[in-house]
């Protein structure tokens, strides 16, 4: 019996689902070259390069960047650049912290018995079984009550007043990222034999050296995939950020959401295209690095 035998039904369904997954993305990318500023209809790709932007009503006839007119426009948009900066800052900080904290917890849960083990293990499932919006409004309530209290008791005023911002977003991101990191690393630790560490200690390495030279290199692939998951979760997050951000801490998803409720120019499509490309390249290269380390 051929193990790779497939029924025509499965193949047809597969093609259909892949089409369903990719059609919207292809459309999105296509419209980023749209000549129409209103972006309602596809008026063809901006045809020509020229000294400066030439418009005919809402149609772009030619542009210094040619078909990539909207991408150039985007580069001039300070709001987008700021949002992109915020998004990266938050994602990188939150990924580093949640990976460290989550890996520690994974080691604890996989290796040790301690009193609050069950509590720690169960609390990891909170972000999975509770809708994100509940966590979002919970964090918002916490921060607003806490800040209200602190601002009034400490008599803070003006710029010193505590308010929602990049810190509250990052801190909340870390909270929902830790469980995912922990669960991923924990799953990878399941096959990890204690005897490797014992061998290192047996050969004269103390606890810290053992961790640095043996444990960490061996669990690194698991930690990396945990970090990768955390990073994409942070980049992708809308709901928690929506409730915990404040002035000056707008992230890209929040920015795009804001645009969708107003006028949409093909700039949004250009932004989306870049986003897809960046994430695609980042994930692909990380995947390749990981494959290499796992093979080695």
């Amino acid at each position: 019996m051929n193990p790779f035998r497939r029924s025509p039904f499965v193949i047809a369904a597969t093609i259909l689902v892949y089409f369903f997954l990719y059609a919207p993305i292809v459309g999105l990318v296509l419209y980023s070259f749209n000549a129409s500023r209103t972006n309602v209809k596809f008026e063809g790709i901006i045809p020509a390069f020229s000294e400066r932007v030439v418009m005919d009503g809402s149609l772009v006839k030619s542009s210094p960047c040619g078909p990539f007119h909207w991408y150039c426009d985007l580069a001039k948009n300070d709001d987008v650049l700021e949002a992109a900066g915020n998004t990266l800052k938050i994602a990188i900080t939150a990924t580093i912290l949640s990976t460290i904290i989550g890996t520690m917890a994974a080691l604890a849960l996989q290796r040790y018995d301690f009193k609050l083990k069950l509590f720690s293990q169960v609390s990891l499932y909170i972000p999975i079984v509770i809708p994100e919006i509940v966590m979002g409004i919970g964090a918002l309530t916490l921060f607003s009550q806490l800040f209200q209290f602190l601002n009034s008791t400490l008599n803070l005023s003006g710029d010193a007043r505590l308010s929602l911002g990049i810190v509250t977003v990052t801190v909340s991101h870390i909270a929902f990222m830790i469980p995912f990191v922990t669960l991923v690393v924990q799953a990878r630790l399941q096959g990890f034999d204690k005897s490797f560490e014992e061998a290192a200690m047996d050969l004269g390495a103390d606890e810290w050296t053992t961790f640095r030279r043996v444990t960490f290199p061996m669990i690194l692939p698991g930690v990396l995939s945990g970090a990768l998951l955390a990073f994409t979760l942070s980049l992708d997050d809308f709901v928690i950020t929506f409730f915990t951000n404040g002035p000056g801490s707008t992230t890209l998803p929040i920015y795009v959401y804001g645009l969708l409720r107003r006028i949409i120019t093909p700039q949004v499509n250009a932004l989306s295209t870049i986003w897809i490309l960046v994430v695609f390249i980042a994930v692909l290269s990380l995947q390749l690095i990981q494959n290499r380390t796992e093979k080695a």
Partner: protein, 371 residues
């Protein structure tokens, strides 16, 4: 070298908490002394406490009670990296992310040895296990036997006082295992390092060891040389665990200085002239044990003591021996007879139902304490 003993366990207890929450003694008041330069084996089936004992010597577990001495120093609570013992792990535990060279060099690096010295000593260690030229390979690219050699080299390169080996040959196939047994033994004799070897394979233990500790249920049942363990087991467990034996219940009828008379109801006879073992008193219920190859089948009626008439119930030819199963009075007895003569002639076999005479030689018929 401090003291006569390389390793000493004094009244060591190790309790584990089972998942159900109760305490389980994996090692239960074990005392043993391992001499400098000897090849010492701990033999027993799984769960007998041999591996736990080894792990306590290595420092991976701490004794609940009692104390462990290495070269005369109490080390019960010293972490593994401060002990001059090294371990060859059952699964080898080679670092997959390091080359063979890096694996073997790891322990020397931890000592802070100079680069040049590390190079020299690693090369020597690899030569010792015949792996010269494999330095740059990764463990995964080696065969099981080669990985085993790397594990040995990695532990020996540190020149430990004691080398601990936890069933190191368990994963190898039979032929390779036999080869490695002899090689390890030769290595031990050449280096003069004390080896403590854990195994569940009695043949392996008998082949390699100077002395063996037979363990069961967390306790040592007997410590002795291979010959002592086999020829003079001190209890029924050891007699049963090592090799094979016929057992009969009996009662001591008279006990002289160097001879005893034991009545065996199943044979409805007295066995006379048996060697006396310590700690048994007249009238005590005992177990009589005799190894199948020690029983002699004879053709002619001699004036021998302990002579019985038996009836053959089955014979099995296994190449080196023929196993003969007999009914003797109310007892069942198995006898292994070496095939000194060719059995090609069917007449040379015992036939089922044939009556034969048997001698239970008194010097090899033991009576042991009931377990």
């Amino acid at each position: 070298m401090a003291g006569e003993f390389a390793v000493e366990l004094r009244d060591v207890v190790k309790n584990f908490i089972t998942p159900e929450g109760s305490e389980l003694a994996a090692v239960d008041h074990v005392t043993m002394q391992i001499r400098n330069g000897e090849f010492f084996s701990m033999l027993g089936s799984s769960g007998c406490g041999k591996t736990t004992s080894l792990r306590m010597i290595a420092g991976f577990e701490w004794p609940t009670e009692g104390e462990i001495y290495i070269e005369g120093k109490a080390v019960g609570h010293t972490p593994p990296f401060q002990r001059k013992v090294n371990t060859v792990f059952q699964n080898y535990a080679l670092f997959q992310h390091m080359t063979v060279f890096e694996n073997v060099a790891f322990g020397l690096e931890m000592e802070g040895a100079a680069k040049e010295e590390i190079k020299k000593r690693v090369a020597k260690a690899l030569e010792m296990v015949q792996l010269t030229g494999m330095e740059r390979r990764r463990p995964r690219q080696l065969s099981g036997g080669q990985q085993q050699r790397v594990a040995v080299a990695r532990a020996l390169v540190k020149i430990p006082d004691v080398l601990l080996l936890d069933e190191p040959l368990g994963a190898l196939d039979l032929k390779l295992r036999k080869e490695m047994q002899l090689e390890l033994k030769a290595l031990q004799q050449q280096l003069g390092i004390t080896f403590v070897y854990v195994t569940h394979d009695q043949e392996e233990a008998l082949t390699m060891s100077d002395r063996i500790a037979v363990m069961s249920k967390g306790a040592v049942r007997q410590i002795g040389t291979p010959v002592e363990i086999y020829e003079r087991p001190s209890n029924r467990f050891v007699a049963d665990f090592i090799g094979e034996a016929n057992f009969f219940d009996g009662r001591i009828k008279s006990l002289a200085k160097d001879e005893a008379l034991v009545y065996v109801p199943a044979l409805n006879a007295d066995l006379t002239g048996l060697p006396v073992s310590d700690g048994l008193v007249n009238g005590e219920e005992v177990v009589v044990s005799i190894r199948p190859e020690k029983v002699r089948i004879t053709a002619e009626e001699t004036m021998n003591t302990n002579l019985f008439r038996g009836k053959v119930t089955n014979t099995v030819y296994i190449g080196t021996d023929t196993h003969v199963y007999l009914d003797v009075c109310n007892a069942k007895l198995k006898v292994y007879e070496q095939n000194r003569i060719s059995r090609l002639d069917p007449g040379s076999f015992y036939t089922v139902g044939q009556e034969v005479l048997l001698i239970l030689p008194p010097e090899n018929t033991l009576f042991l304490k009931k377990d």
